[in-house]
Amino acid sequence: MGLFRKTPAPPPLSRAEALACIPVRNHAIQASQTPEGMVRLRYPLILKPWIAELAQRFRSAPDTPPSRQLELDELGSLTWGLIDGRRTVRAIVRQFCRQTQVHPKEAEAAVTRFLRELGRRGIIGMAIGGHGKAD
């Protein structure tokens, strides 16, 4: 029965552990600035192998990997600028809170949702349990 045994899911991170994670930018991301001063990200698409194979056959430039662009708004651009590979999520929340004067709870909700979205698209990764910059 060992063949069909499911791998147990790792226990979910506690809130304190999640806030202590360090967001790290994906090196394959190309960040540029728009004329309005916002950040534009070009990130490679993560495709299933057979879809990638199919896409490669039908694309005009098959050597370039498929990618997408994402343009961040003011607050997104600010948060992106705070991701330096050393700051923890908590430090980013605090800095965001200071710079925008929003309530700490709102800053936490907004920043964590934004980071989750970036992580879902493979734009950032999370270093768990690191000893990052506190502020």
Partner: protein, 309 residues
């Protein structure tokens, strides 16, 4: 190269220099340390935090019928998610905690889990028939030192002096019998709806104001229109300038409203009004909409009381 680091903020002081601030929710008023923040709010429920850790939890409900201490204590302490909650111990009132009015039944309790403990009170007021459970989380640090002062400030029926609602960074005082019927706290946007008979009051708060104004062409009227605060009848009208903002008034269009004016032998009350203003000091936009408000003074009073903590 040296990194520029901001100093840790002094969480014991508010922006206006006081070390306490009001907290009011679900008819319960408290004075809490300024460093405590609203963590989660629900219907008759509030969780306050300090440095991302829970510090105070409050549940309240109006008791219908006869109050049974054991039964309601069990109901209020029931946890939906914890399978094996640590056992509660009923204790005498700890030394230093304030004595409550003789019209109140008080039962202190304590519990101890693996990493955190708690102590608190179940209070039942025979006058307003409200049972309230307040518990303080014990993380083994200095946070419990504030308990006597917080409990001494406890009010479970309106004194007429405190705010009706004081949560996160907003507070407002509404006239008697206005009940909170709907609320939504999203990052950047708060909305609270109060009703009293046919009257309705809605409070909004947006943050950060500079970003929102920038998106709306730096005019408050665009903010009001983009968020659907104005009805089609006045959506094209320019608001009347008031201190720091704009105001619109429009008559109610119901037969009830017209009949009310007819039978009262006077002009019908102004009906509906919306005021929106920008608080540049706190980078917030605030708005109040009154529907079928009895007198315009009531609306004016609510607007005056509504502000940032």
């Amino acid at each position: 190269m040296q990194n520029l680091c901001f100093p840790e903020p002094d969480l014991t002081l508010t922006s206006h220099g006081h070390d306490t601030k009001p907290f009011a929710w679900a008819g319960i008023e408290l004075t809490i340390p300024a460093a405590w923040e609203t963590g989660h709010l629900g219907d008759g429920y509030a969780l306050l935090e300090h440095r991302y850790r829970p510090v105070l939890e409050m549940k309240t409900a109006t008791i219908r019928g006869r109050f049974n201490f054991q039964r309601h204590f069990k109901a209020l302490t029931r946890s939906g998610r914890t399978r094996s909650a640590p056992p509660l111990r009923l204790t005498p009132l700890p030394p230093g905690w304030p004595a409550f009015s003789a019209r109140m039944d008080v039962q202190p309790f304590a519990w101890q889990g693996d990493h955190v403990g708690g102590r608190g009170l179940l209070l039942y007021c025979r006058d307003c028939r409200k049972a309230t459970l307040i518990q303080f989380y014990d993380h083994g640090d200095h946070r419990l030192a504030a308990i006597p002062d917080v409990l001494a400030s406890f009010k479970d029926h309106t004194s007429g002096s405190g705010p009706t609602v004081a949560v996160y960074d907003i507070q407002a005082t509404l006239p008697d019998r206005f009940a909170l019927t709907r609320f939504q706290f999203d990052a950047g946007r708060f909305e609270l709806v109060f009703t009293r008979s046919r009257e309705g009051v809605t409070l909004w708060r947006w943050s950060p104001a500079d970003v929102i104004l920038d998106r709306c062409g730096n005019t408050l009227s665009h903010v009001a229109r983009n968020n659907g605060l104005l009805p089609p009848a006045v959506i094209d009208q320019n608001g009347r300038p008031v201190e720091g903002g704009l105001e619109w008034q429009w008559p109610a269009r119901g037969y009830r409203h017209r009949l009310r004016g007819f039978f009262a032998h006077r002009a019908p009350p102004p009906g509906h009004a919306l005021r929106i203003w920008h608080r540049s000091d706190s980078n917030r936009i605030l708005a109040v909409r009154g529907e079928a408000i009895d007198t315009f003074d009531t609306f004016e009073g609510i607007c005056t009381s509504y502000g940032a903590i």
